[in-house]
Every structure is written in structure tokens, then in C-alpha cells.
């Protein structure tokens, strides 16, 4: 079976979730990768290690305009006769997979967490992580977008053939005016380790101890909704049902009660540590490790312990 995987190689960088998508594609069939922009051919060839036979690259345009990328992916799918098209379900993947699905009349499995079963059904997260569903695609072709951090990339060595590709993708419908990325901070949606805090921290002036622990771990910071709503922390840190949904390897929550709407955004985390003064806090029911104690004492102590651990490595 021929599989096409879209990989975002803008800025010359290939993220871990792209490698996850290629490895995932390899479990289904022979993988061709499609990408655009100016990435170095050598870097693209390395996708062969994750299972790509071939990389098609359209050098005629840069960026992630959904209309242009849709034309590119559809043209590449035709070119290689792909029956399955795969995206990582990240911010770019979400905006393109749906367009490609409508254009190709290929049913979309959004947020897949596993490879297709014998009968073709694919497991996805539903009800904000409180359940999962098995989706069947009723069209001849299909599009699957893979939930980041739900599938391990496998590096088996080897290189892929890199070929120039022309897709006549036209003009971008969306013009980018400005890009703002806070220096040094680790982006939350992709972070493998996250330190989060809630109203239990009493005020924005106390976030230093959260940031210190995050820095020591190399983690991103997050918060509960009321904390973002009162303006203690920026909106993009708000996790939960109405904020960002994350699935890091480790989620440390201090001074967060664990309301059902908060859990909905973090229950995909592999390991959850909860720090709370109240032993009855509902979050402990969803936690792997719990510390009943005052965050103001426990967080600095934990930072010290991580420091010691890092020094011993």
C-alpha cells in the first residue's frame, strides 16, 4: 500500500512529531514524504531512517498556508497513488488534513492514537480524553492525523531519495505579517515535561518557584483556567477542556484541584504528579504520584532534588 506523509520542514527543522508520523506510515505501507520550502536535502534524506523511501520537496513556496499545502499534498498523493495520507495532528496538520480530506473525498481520522487494526478501524481520543473511539473510514482513500506523542519514532538507519516536485500550489490565501516566539521558553503543546500550577499559588508573584523547577527539568510551564482568566499567567498556558490539551510524558501539577474540565486537557499525560495541601483534592485520583503538602515548600525542595539528580548524571 502506498502511503504519503506530510512533513513540516520549515526553517530547516524536522520536529519529533514528524518522525512519529513517518514511523507510523511505515507500519501501514511504503512511505513517500511530501514537504515544501528550503530545507537542506541532506536533512530530508535522514527521514529514510524512520522508514521513508522517498521525499518529494516543492521548492517553489515556503510556509504553511493551508490552501497551498492542500494543493501540494493532493498533487503528491496523485503522483504516488497514495491510498493513505498521514499528518501529525499538530497546529499545521489540523488546518491542512481537513482540507485534504474534503478535496480527495477521503475520510479523515482525526487524532489517531494507534495504527489501523486488521479491520481497518483506527483508535482515536474522544470526549476530551475521557474515552476513546474506533473510527471506520467508508471511502476508498483515507487521511489519518496522528496525535503527537502517542507513537514512538523508530530510527532504523538508512536514507531516503530526495526528489524535487512541482505542485503549482498558487498564491497563499493567508499573508503572515509577524511571528512572535518568546525567547528560550519551551512550547507547551510539544513539551515532553510540563510543570503547571493553579490558584493554590495565591498570586503571580509566586510563579518564580514554578519557573525554577521548569528550568531545572527543561519543562514547559502551564496553568489552570482561573489563573489565566485573572491574568496571573498568559492565555496560551491555560490547559484543559477550554484551553490547550497536552499529552506530555510528565505533568506536575501544584495547587490545582483537578476539576473535571482541567483533567480533560491533561489526562493523556503518561505520568502525573500532584502537589496539594488538601488530601481530598480530586486530582489525587488521577495522579500516579502524590505529595500532600504545601507547594511553597515542596516545589523548591523538588527543584533542589532535580538539581542534585542532574548533577549526578
Amino acid at each position: 500500500m502506498s502511503v504519503l506523509v506530510y512533513v513540516n520542514s520549515n526553517n530547516g527543522k524536522i520536529a519529533k512529531n514528524a518522525m512519529e508520523a513517518v514511523t507510523y506510515g511505515k507500519k501501514i505501507g511504503n512511505v513517500t514524504v511530501v514537504t515544501n520550502g528550503g530545507a537542506d536535502a541532506g536533512a530530508l534524506a535522514e527521514l529514510g531512517a524512520y522508514g521513508a523511501d522517498k521525499v518529494l520537496v516543492d521548492r517553489a513556496f515556503e510556509g504553511t498556508d493551508p490552501q497551498q499545502l492542500t494543493k501540494l499534498v493532493v498533487a503528491a498523493a496523485e503522483n504516488v497513488g497514495a491510498e493513505t495520507v498521514i499528518f501529525s495532528n499538530d497546529l499545521v496538520g489540523k488546518s491542512v488534513a481537513s482540507r485534504v480530506s474534503a478535496r480527495m473525498k477521503a475520510g479523515l481520522v482525526a487524532g489517531a492514537t494507534g495504527v489501523p487494526a486488521e479491520d481497518g478501524t483506527v483508535k482515536v481520543n474522544v470526549f476530551s480524553g475521557k474515552a476513546f473511539g474506533f473510527v471506520k473510514v467508508n471511502t476508498a482513500k483515507r487521511v489519518i492525523s496522528l496525535l503527537p506523542n502517542s507513537f514512538q519514532p523508530e530510527n532504523n538507519g538508512g536514507t531516503a531519495a530526495v526528489e524535487e516536485f512541482t505542485s503549482n500550489s498558487g498564491e497563499a490565501g493567508i499573508k503572515v505579517l509577524e511571528t512572535k516566539k518568546p525567547e528560550g521558553a519551551i512550547p507547551l503543546p510539544e513539551a515532553e515535561l510540563v510543570v503547571s500550577a493553579g490558584r493554590g499559588l495565591k498570586g503571580p508573584e509566586n510563579w518564580g518557584m514554578v519557573e525554577e523547577l521548569a528550568t531545572e527539568l527543561g519543562a514547559a510551564t502551564a496553568c489552570s483556567r482561573p489563573v489565566a482568566d485573572i491574568g496571573w499567567r498568559p492565555h496560551h498556558e491555560h490547559v484543559g477542556q477550554t484551553g490547550v490539551a497536552i499529552r506530555p510524558n510528565l505533568y506536575i501539577a501544584a495547587g490545582i484541584s483537578g476539576a473535571i474540565q482541567h483533567l480533560a486537557g491533561v489526562n493523556g499525560s503518561k505520568v502525573i504528579v500532584v502537589i496539594n495541601t488538601d488530601p481530598e483534592a480530586p486530582f489525587f485520583k488521577a495522579a500516579d504520584y502524590g505529595v500532600v503538602g504545601d507547594a511553597f515548600e515542596v516545589l523548591p525542595r523538588l527543584t533542589e532534588a532535580v538539581k542534585k539528580f542532574n548533577a549526578s548524571k
Binding site: 473511539g133 471511502t139 503572515v176 509577524e178 516566539k181 500516579d288 504520584y289 505529595v291 532534588a305
Partner: protein, 246 residues
């Protein structure tokens, strides 16, 4: 400005999630439906703010049955001018998107707004599919939206930051947190909603491309392991050797 806001119902955020009929159907027993929070808080309210600033109309559209009318009336109570319900059971994102696109095609909407996803199926698919069917540009996960003349300026989430972008109307936008603040309907709005037009239109026969075969609940979490608050070295040791996340 003619604005179309896509409204879907979703189970209340505190609903118990369970399934019936051999795990093939969501158990609606005791479940209260609300307007999907992303549709209501972000798409609808921003649509209303734009209308208040620039003039025009806000129409909501829902693919659903008479069972959806209560949530549609809620959207009208918050301030939409009129509502459209495409009279069909919603089956998958593509069916919903093709019905909405078919309705919107020749109506001259300047903006089509959706929430970033529904909180039940979390697909984040409908907006992009509508955009593709209508061959319009699409900005996903926008956190800010302003319009001047026929140009929209938006902020959208990107990995690790924010991008400011510009696009020409007509445009499809999916709305995320930051767009607007929740509005609680007042008594006058609720009364007015009763008499606002809710047009029921016949579906064009949009077909689903996917279906859910079954559902399952995650395995119960094993009991939490409590660590002495004085002994954070132990926690780090467990995270390293037992959980293998450090």
C-alpha cells in the same frame, strides 16, 4: 458584514461519559446538552462584537434535529439575529461541513466562524472542510480577529508562539481562547430568542465518510503513590527509575 457562526451542541463539561448498546452509542442518560463552549464563547461572541462594531448580521447554523433547538435558542438569546437548522442527524464532520457549505455557498457571507473543536468528538475538522468546499482561505485556531474593510487581521496559535496574519474576506476562521469573553444571556435576550427566526432547511444529502464502530473507556488508574513531602529525592528517584520519565 454578514457573519455565519457554526453552532454545535455538546454534553455539559461535567457529564459522566458512558456508552450503551455494546459500547457503540454514547449514553445520553442524564446528560445535559450545552452549546459547545468553543462555538459559544469564542466564535459566537466575537461574531457579535464585530457586528456591533461594524454593522451587519450574525446568523447561526446547525446541522441537527429538533433536539438541537434548545441549544440554538441559547445562541439566539446570547444575541444572534437568526438561526438556520439543516434538518439532518449529524453523522460525521464531512457530512456536517458539506451541508453547511451547500447552504452558505451563494448567500454572500463575509465570515464563517466555528469553534476550534467540539468537546465531544474533538475532531477540529469542520472548519477546514467548509473552507475547502467553498474554496476559501482558512485561519485555524485564531485567538484574535479584527476586520477593516475587506481585510481581516488575525492572531493565530503556532508552535511556541503567535503569528499575526492577514487575509481577504470572505474567510473561514476557527476560534480558540483569547478571541472573546463568555457572555451570559440576560432575561431580555432569552425572551427575544423565542421569537427570532429559526429557519429549518432541507439537507442536500451530504454523506458521511467515516463512522464510529465502537467506544471504550480508559482503564481505571491504579491508586496514587504518596510521597513524603520532606523527601523529594525519593520522588525524583521514582520518576527516574520507576516511571522512566526523567
Amino acid at each position: 458584514m454578514k457573519i455565519l457562526v457554526c453552532i454545535s451542541k455538546s454534553p455539559d463539561t461535567t457529564s459522566k461519559i458512558a456508552f450503551t448498546e455494546g459500547n457503540t452509542k454514547f449514553d445520553e442518560n442524564g446528560v445535559q446538552y450545552i452549546v459547545n463552549p468553543y462555538d459559544e464563547w469564542y466564535a459566537l461572541v466575537r461574531g457579535l462584537e464585530l457586528k456591533e462594531a461594524l454593522g451587519g448580521t450574525v446568523t447561526t447554523i446547525t446541522v441537527g434535529t429538533a433536539a438541537d433547538d434548545a441549544t440554538i435558542r441559547k445562541a439566539l438569546a446570547i444575541g444572534a439575529d437568526n438561526a438556520v437548522r439543516v434538518d439532518a442527524e449529524a453523522t460525521d464532520a464531512y457530512q456536517v461541513a458539506s451541508e453547511i457549505a451547500a447552504y452558505a455557498k451563494d448567500k454572500g457571507f463575509d465570515l464563517v466562524l466555528t469553534g476550534k473543536e467540539t468537546i465531544n468528538y474533538n475532531g477540529s475538522q469542520v472548519a477546514g472542510m467548509i473552507a475547502e468546499e467553498l474554496e476559501l482561505p482558512f485561519v485555524s485556531l485564531a485567538t484574535k480577529l479584527n476586520v477593516e474593510g475587506t481585510t481581516a487581521k488575525l492572531d493565530k496559535e503556532i508552535v511556541g508562539g503567535v503569528e499575526t496574519v492577514e487575509a481577504q474576506l470572505p474567510l473561514v476562521v476557527s476560534c480558540a481562547k483569547g478571541m472573546a469573553e463568555q457572555r451570559i444571556p440576560n432575561m431580555r435576550g432569552i425572551m427575544a430568542a423565542r421569537t427570532k427566526p429559526l429557519e429549518v432547511v432541507t439537507p442536500v444529502g451530504g454523506e458521511a465518510m467515516t463512522s464510529f464502530v465502537s467506544f471504550d473507556l480508559p482503564p481505571a488508574k491504579s491508586a496514587v503513590k504518596l510521597i513524603d513531602p520532606e523527601n523529594m529525592d525519593e520522588l525524583v528517584e521514582l520518576l527516574h527509575n520507576e516511571a522512566k520519565v526523567l
